[in-house]
Amino acid sequence: MGRHQPVAKTYRRPAKVDWMRNPHRIRYMARELTSVFLIAYALVLLVGLWRLSQGEAAFDAWRAALASPLSILCHLAILAAAVYHTISWFEVMPKTMPDSNIPPAKITRGGWAVAAAASLLVLVVAVGGA
């Protein structure tokens, strides 16, 4: 494509992208990695739905499995990843929005506030329902 012709003889360094080269790339990879934890949690909830369809005994067994120490440890890791994902995602969110006069920091803080409020609501409903 294009009218410019490449230089005939060039050297290409062995292509290798170094994801650890600078702090920015590390933060990006950390943000991407946390989404794996979020998928894992979505799968846990889907399994719960599937067990519910199998009847009360199956659902109770699923709930008992969730109470095991290993499961609680996993959930704590998922919680930490979800918090990091939420914080870091809203930090970059202003760049996904159309140009506007709203200061980027305001968009970020707004996102954090909505996420915190939604989490609080879920917590209140969950504690109230328990």
Binding site: P6, R13, A15, W19, N22, H24, K95, M97, D99
Partner: protein
Amino acid sequence: MPGPIRVEPLDHFPIVHDLVIDQTDFLNKLEGVKPWLMPKTERSLAEGPYRQTPAQMDKYHAYSQCINCLLCYAACPQYGLKPDFTGPAALALMHRYNADSRDIGWEGRSELANADAGVWGCTFVGVCSEVCPQAVDPAHAINQNKANSAMDFFGVRKLLAPREGAK
């Protein structure tokens, strides 16, 4: 004590010799985004220049400040992994013309933006905007056009188009 400084040719480009790289790929991509004004209505010389308000100019001014230094291409890991990717500077320049009130806008360059090598080649690492010495913010230019591209895919842009034209 400051750390050592490493001097090397720009990453991701073929090296000609020493620090000299071959920027052919970039030049072709830059031309590929049609970086010229495609006027909504042709004006004759007698009618004078196209006029624009300061507010209309603000919409694209920051994106027009690129000096083609290629730091964003050297910083972008996606360009390193996928040389087809149109890349930060060229896509920022595409947005510069799309956002210009005198230009026909998105429709003139949508095919390139919607392509795999267009805005969707970006995974939003965002490091292009960090290294840009001109504060062009290519990551912002690219990522707001993912919304445009998605709306285009679902046909929403066509619904909005008559209203945009009436402005």
